[in-house]
Amino acid sequence: MVLVSELREMYEDMVTARYYEERLQEEYLEGKQPAFDISAGPIPGELHLAAGQEAAAAGVCRHLRDDDTATAPHRPHHVAIAKGVDLKRMTAEIFGRENGLSSGKGGHMHLFDPDAGFACSGIIAQGCPPAVGAGLAAKKRNEDGVAVAFLGEGAISQGAFLESLNLAAVQRLPVVFVVEDNDWAISMPKGRVTDVADGSQRAAGFDMPGVRVDYDDATAVYDAAREAVGRARAGNGPTLLEVQVHRRMGHFMGDPESYRPEEDVEAAQARDSIERLAEDLRGAGLEDDDLEAIREDARERVDEAIEWAKEQPEPEPDAAHEDVFVNPPSGVTTEEPTHELAGGDD
């Protein structure tokens, strides 16, 4: 049983993420047509969109509090939104503006919102060890915080992931590893790079529970994640949770996807996890008008965030030199410390 309020929140997260990325896509393509030039337009650099993967983030993050931690990989927006990252400042960051989450230093693959317990990294599986560390900190302090590391199915062949599973297991840390299986790692289909079709089986090698949700059904993810997050919060150790999702688009914007069979794209686009959740909501008594109201609200917030972001100033060039350290070295000092050292018995 899932509370209707929970279903609603998930629906809100999912439609927000989907619409957000549709808008980002429009903005991104500005200046990149007809010829696609990655460095042109208001949003330069790579852009990885998560359309078709929202259910995994929404279903898991519903169980997380602000003081819990989530780490995401290069495809971070749906997780960030579900984790409650400040939408305006995230958008400003993606537009490379001064008031962005990282003052324009990070960009879309490097979003950090400590207040929302969120961070991401563009290096495959490298969000796993820091999530383990967040779990370690919670355990050491006798707090009941939980850390969740999101990663793609391609990342489960990376050492950092496997080492993290082991460390989290042997230390019984409150960590949940969430694999979003969209069948592809850029152009490499899962079957070409691993013989294990069900990534959650990796858990067995570390003696931790491994669970797979076979279709991108937010409600089913919610149920599986309740167990995994609950287990972590209760001090019973980590879980590996894999969710089948779908890559509705190219790996990144501008990906010609010439390696991908037409039918596969069509199949991914035919799946609609948002509509599936909408059915659950209707089953729970919501009317179409209620759903439309949620969508309208999401559109408003997204449009507002994008508008706000675009009004923010660009950073000063000189700002590039700041933030390497929180305590910038102020230069060479020749002063010796003046400790009184007790004589050792040498």
């Binding site: 650099g45 490379g96 324009g104 790079v193 501008g254 000189d318 590039a320």
Partner: protein, 343 residues
Amino acid sequence: MAQEERRQVIDRELTMSRAMVEAIAHEMRADDEVFYMGEDVADYGGIFDSTEGLLEEFGRDRVMDVPISETAYLGAAVGAAQEGMRPVAELMFVDFFGVAMDQIYNQMAKNTYMSGGAVNVPMVLTAAVGGTYNDAAQHSQTLYGTFAHLPGMKVVVPSTAYDAKGLMHNAIQDDDPVVYLFHKRLMGIGWMPAPDGPKTPVPEEEYTIPFGSADVKREGDDATVVTLGLHVHRALEAADALAEDGIDAEVIDLRTLVPLDTETIRESVAKTGRLVVVDEDYRSYGVTGEVIASVAEDGLADLEAVERVAVPDVPLPYARPMENEVVPDSDDIESAVRSAYDA
């Protein structure tokens, strides 16, 4: 031989990526023991076109897509090389070396020495490098100095199609590990327009360019600009602008960092008296310092002025104004040459 002269004899022009692939294909045809491993190198043809067309000709056994397990497959290249094969293994972005550094610098680079020469590692590690398209701190580095600093790897950085082909032939034929760093902005990829310059005439037949032979890309008497990769083209642009004011800069393309052709640099400095080193890597403990020190050691008397132009010691920022601030452009080079000239 200057680029100009070549142009008169060969009129077939290639992008840098085509030239690179042509050399790899040639070596694969000539030797069954040459194979290519990497992520998205088969059907995709390399994210930066580094293997375009190889799958079609050589099939999946020799053009291998591998899991996102850099430690395993770069290390496997080391092992296969030690068995006498000639693997070429690709790191999609050089920035990802961190997840597999042990296999690179403790195994690949050291096994020859640690075995007292009993073992050799005839492999090539290819990797895309460089910024200028706002991909931020984890996808924009060159790390030239990092690889060159650690002993045991030959380090190659082509700046033109002609050089890319000859250097690749040499890299695959070399009996030692070679790190071949190609700049994304120079490859001639449709979605990342290259500047004028890297697309050059390229002979059909095989040829090698010996490592340790820097190329004088432009002759001049007033200042020596030493650089590599993308910044060869930025330096040539700066040199054109300087020429309008009567300042005649010589532009030297290092082409390989290990070995470093200090002779060509010293000869040039003996002529010009002014040394400007331009690098897209971090400033401290890197290429700029090394080149200047190598001239100072034996040619201190020739040095009237020294300037270095490099990325200040900060990670590469995302936003355009900040990335432009830290990655040297031709204006930065121009003003460094002027400072040296006026010194």
